[in-house]
């Protein structure tokens, strides 16, 4: 299964551990990701706050570059997923916008007819690879590992039909398939604060505190996520949460590809797990050893 890979800016920088795990895990499960040549930033939420047409235009450049390959574009980042899909929808629904985008792309020698589907990496793992296959491939069933599945917002909202916007469960099935225990986690699709962590830190820390508290309440060994910004907020800022609220959270936040990598018996260092700010706890390591 071959796809056009749109990595986004974060996995090359603050979320490079995500990319590390994707590099080793994807080939092992039969997912071939060919990086889109010379892609540009999707603009995320920030660009759209300043300029709308420009934001769509830079996004559309990527889609136009991907179109000749006639296959799905896959991205590991929820924000890129949202923005690229939004561009597709607006392109289809608003003729005025479509015309202007066409002219803009033309200036760069490109054109787009709206025929590229954009999917999240999780979607590919769940629906194209499938829980059964992952279960088969799991040489190390993570028995006893309690995992809180954290989806965040932008992968399930607005609705793309991939999973439920309030109570998604696709990643839950993956976790169960590789032998780990997916705990009851009602906060699974609640907001981490996203970019507010930079501009309104206290607000975002409060939101993260709830997410962490709930994972601990459910006795999870770790939280699994699929968005670079969510991972950063919950991982890198976890000590800040503790500082502000006098809590003692110490729960690692890893990417779902890293979890799958563990089930494939890949050493943690190769999966980029050494880059976690909140390191894997002794408890978690023990459970993994015994599994």
């Amino acid at each position: 299964m071959k796809y056009t890979y749109y990595p986004g800016c974060s996995v090359g920088a603050t979320a490079n551990l995500y990319q590390d795990s994707i590099n080793v895990v994807a080939p092992k499960v039969g997912v071939e990701l060919e990086e889109l040549q010379d892609w540009n930033c999707c603009g995320a939420t920030a660009y759209m706050s300043v300029k709308e047409l420009m934001s769509f235009a830079i996004s559309a450049r990527n889609l136009a570059l991907a179109e000749p390959f006639h296959r799905d574009v896959v991205t590991p980042c929820s924000a890129c997923y949202l923005v690229l899909n939004k561009t597709n929808h607006y392109f289809a629904e608003y003729p005025e916008l479509r015309k202007k985008l066409g002219k803009a792309l033309e200036a760069g020698g490109l054109s787009y007819s709206g025929n590229i589907r954009v999917r999240h990496l999780l979607d590919v793992f769940v629906n194209d690879v499938g829980p059964e296959r992952l279960s088969e491939l799991a040489t190390k069933k993570l028995a006893g590992l309690r995992v809180a599945p954290y989806y965040g917002c932008q992968i399930v909202r607005p609705e793309e039909g991939f999973d439920d916007p309030d109570e998604p469960e696709s990643m839950d099935r993956l976790i169960e398939a590789i032998g780990a225990t997916c705990v009851e986690y009602p906060m699974k699709a609640k907001c981490c604060g996203a970019s507010l962590m930079g501009t309104q830190e206290k607000l975002a820390l409060k939101l993260c505190r709830e997410l962490l508290a709930n994972a601990v309440r459910a006795d999870a060994h770790c939280i699994v996520t699929l968005c670079p910004l969510c991972q950063m907020n919950l991982d890198v800022y976890q000590p800040k949460v503790n500082g502000l609220f006098r809590t003692k959270f110490n729960i690692p936040v890893i990417y779902f590809t890293q979890l799958i990598g563990l089930s494939l018996g890949i050493p943690p260092r190769e999966l980029g797990l050494h880059r976690l700010a909140v390191k894997m706890t002794k408890q978690m390591k023990d459970v993994l050893k015994g599994a």
């Binding site: 439920d164 309030d166 109570e167 009602p186 709830e210």
Partner: protein, 658 residues
């Protein structure tokens, strides 16, 4: 043809005259071939206006009529009757719509007048080629079919029966009573629902003119107004109603159960026995139990048979099978009621996932004095709640589910608030967007509730969750909502949540509608003939509707509609005959090649194939003259009476001649 056409141009006050130059139009019409005289008047539909036409016909000045005025939907009948009264065949009359299609849609008088001329030229041209058509009448069978035994069906059936007419009432549940039989009290008077309903149920059960078919479903309907043939499937009860005396020994001893054995109070909510052989509630009519074969130990495992052994009347018959019954009726009243929205799909409200989140119907059943909790309001674990949140607009007024407002929820929410205050010491929170209290005594009821210490919060509930953020919220259901009147976001912890689920059309209504040849709208309810002036009729003659199958409504409106429907039916029955449209299609046998293309195209299923003759045949009574077959026939063998090719071509030429 030596036809002499009279053209009458109506001013319609200033509706037409304000935008069409009447004088110019009159002079133009005078110059048209075939026109004997042209008159104009302020209101042609009035008595003097009609008298004008009458005088000209009786004076033998004209023998065909064109009236240029409003839409045929308004006054075609009026003018046709004038013609008839004077001995002119009503089908020698044409109406030119120079109002809705002309004066009302133009800004420029010049354009409007030009179009009026074209329309009149078309009408005159067509009228030259019109042919007289015979009046068609069919008889009306005085027996009526009522589908659905809720309060709408019951009221309609009783009205007809009391008028001395036969009624067949078909109900698919084991007993009549519908939703009303599941309520405790009704708003705004707080009458006991069963107390006001059961006398009527008994009346229906005992009435000599009503044939009651319960646990029965409509299977097929054929025919046309006044002459329907209906087939009903009687589902197997496995209990012989002729022998059973309703003693109740069978369900008393039955070891089977229809509810989870280890279920909590909410999972075991029921009005009647929860055993496999059961009566839905104690006042059931008929008072005959039914066996739920899905949970019955005999049907599932071949064991038990206790009910058979304790029945003194040997009424238990495991080998009963579904049977079919056919009969004829003249009219049909659809009264299939509603179902409540299933809130499981709204995940953020937690129904089905969190304990102590109930729907309105669950809550009604719990409140019923004859129910499994004897009317006590209890939590799932049997304890008394200390606080209850009532949530409005669940599945209503929401583009994701149903756009419509379900009309009754605000009122029943107030009713619940009152019942809770009456029966418990619990705090009551009521979360609403608007408070819709439109009926007689409704606003007064709201006023009463405002005085009863209910905490009203104007805000649509965003979420019901069991995740606490502080100690007080532990073990509670937390409602997140914006208090829009105050302008703050609140988290309200409660013990129990009642979701005011909206009303949707009954399960299977689409199938019943298809069988009876009526249409269902986008909202799932049956489309009435006219939303203002024809709420209980449909586009299909002889099929009427009453109650919630037309749109969500409360009991007073339902009863009113039921009586309206039965009144409409009685009007038909009293007339004994009904005139149906003569403008039907006719197949020329000689030209028909037997290709049968038309057979499946007819939306009214009016065309059949005569195998002996090898030609298709149109049932005139079913034909509505839509013209689909006429257009489709490759042999040009079908003629649309009153819309024949030459008539239409003449009309087109008339339009283009201006």
């Amino acid at each position: 043809m030596s036809e002499r056409i009279g053209v009458y141009v109506c001013h319609c006050g200033t509706n037409i005259a304000g935008k069409v130059n009447i004088d110019e139009v009159v002079r133009f019409a005078e110059g048209l071939a075939g026109v004997e005289l042209v008159r104009d008047y302020k209101f042609m539909c009035s008595d003097p206006g009609q008298a004008m036409i009458q005088k000209d016909i009786e004076g033998d000045l004209i023998d065909r009529v064109v009236v240029a005025s409003c839409s045929p939907l308004m006054h075609e009948n009026t003018f046709r009757k004038v013609c008839e009264r004077c001995g002119v065949n009503p089908y020698l009359f044409t109406m030119a719509n120079i109002r809705e299609q002309c004066s009302w849609v133009h800004v420029d008088m010049g354009d409007s007048t030009a179009k009026a001329k074209a329309l009149i030229a078309a009408a005159v041209s067509r009228t030259k080629f019109l042919e007289p058509l015979p009046k068609r009448e069919v008889s009306i069978n005085p027996r009526t079919l009522v589908i659905g035994g809720g309060i709408a069906g019951i009221q309609a059936a009783l009205d007809l029966a009391e008028a001395g007419k036969e009624v067949v009432l078909v109900e698919r549940e084991p007993s009549i009573g519908g939703h009303m039989a599941k309520f405790d009290k009704t708003f705004p008077t707080l009458d006991c629902s069963a107390c006001i309903l059961t006398p009527r149920m008994v009346q229906v059960g005992q009435h000599p003119n009503i044939k009651l078919m319960t646990y029965a479903e409509l299977d097929e309907v054929n025919g046309y107004v006044g002459n329907f043939t209906v087939r009903v499937r009687n589902k197997a009860r496995y209990v012989d109603p002729e022998l059973c005396n309703g003693c109740g020994m069978c369900w008393e001893k039955c070891p089977g159960t229809r509810v989870p054995r280890k279920g909590n109070v909410h999972e075991k909510l029921s009005l009647g026995p929860t055993t496999s052989i059961y009566m839905p509630f104690m006042q059931a009519v008929p008072a005959v139990p039914v066996i739920d074969s899905g949970t019955c130990l005999y049907f599932q495992k071949g064991k038990c048979r206790v009910c058979e052994s304790v029945c003194e009347r040997t009424a238990i018959k495991y080998d009963m099978e579904d049977t079919f019954e056919e009969f004829e009726v003249g009219n049909i009243i659809i009264a299939t009621g509603f179902r409540t929205f299933d809130p499981r799909v709204i995940k953020r409200y937690g129904y089905g996932a969190l304990p102590n989140v109930m729907t309105s119907l669950d809550f009604e059943i719990m409140n019923c004095a004859a129910g499994s909790t004897s009317g006590a309001i209890l939590m799932a674990d049997g304890s008394e709640p200390k606080s209850i949140g009532i949530v409005h607009c669940v599945g209503s007024r929401d583009k994701h589910y149903n756009e419509h407002c379900s009309r009754v929820c605000c009122m029943y929410a107030l009713k619940y608030a009152h019942l809770i205050k009456e029966k418990t010491n619990a705090e009551v929170f009521d979360f609403y967007i608007d408070m819709r209290c439109f009926g007689k005594g409704y606003e007064e009821f709201y006023d009463r509730l405002l005085g009863e210490d209910v905490r009203f919060v104007r805000g649509k509930v965003a979420e019901v969750s069991n995740v606490p953020v502080n100690v007080v919220e532990e073990g509670k259901l937390v409602i997140s909502v914006e208090d829009t009147l105050v302008g703050v976001v609140r988290r309200v912890p409660v013990d129990m949540v009642v979701l005011c689920t909206g009303l949707e059309s009954s399960v299977g209504l689409a199938e019943v509608a298809t069988m009876c040849n009526v249409s269902v709208g986008k909202d799932g309810f049956i489309i009435e003939k006219h939303p203002k002036l024809g709420p209980v009729s449909t586009a299909t003659d002889g099929v009427f509707i009453a109650g919630a199958c037309q749109s969500p409504k409360d009991i007073p409106d339902t009863v009113a509609q039921a009586s309206a429907a039965s009144s409409a039916v009685l009007s038909m029955i009293t007339r004994g005959m009904i005139e149906i449209e003569s403008a039907t299609a006719e197949i020329n046998e000689k030209k028909c090649s037997g290709c049968r293309i038309c057979n499946n195209l007819c939306p009214y299923l009016a065309i059949t194939f005569d195998r002996e003759k090898g030609v298709s045949v149109i049932n005139e009574a079913l034909c509505k003259g839509c013209g689909t077959c006429v257009a489709a026939c490759p042999s040009n063998a079908i003629k649309a009476k009153h819309f024949a090719n030459e008539q239409i071509f003449a009309e087109i030429e008339g339009l283009l001649s201006v």
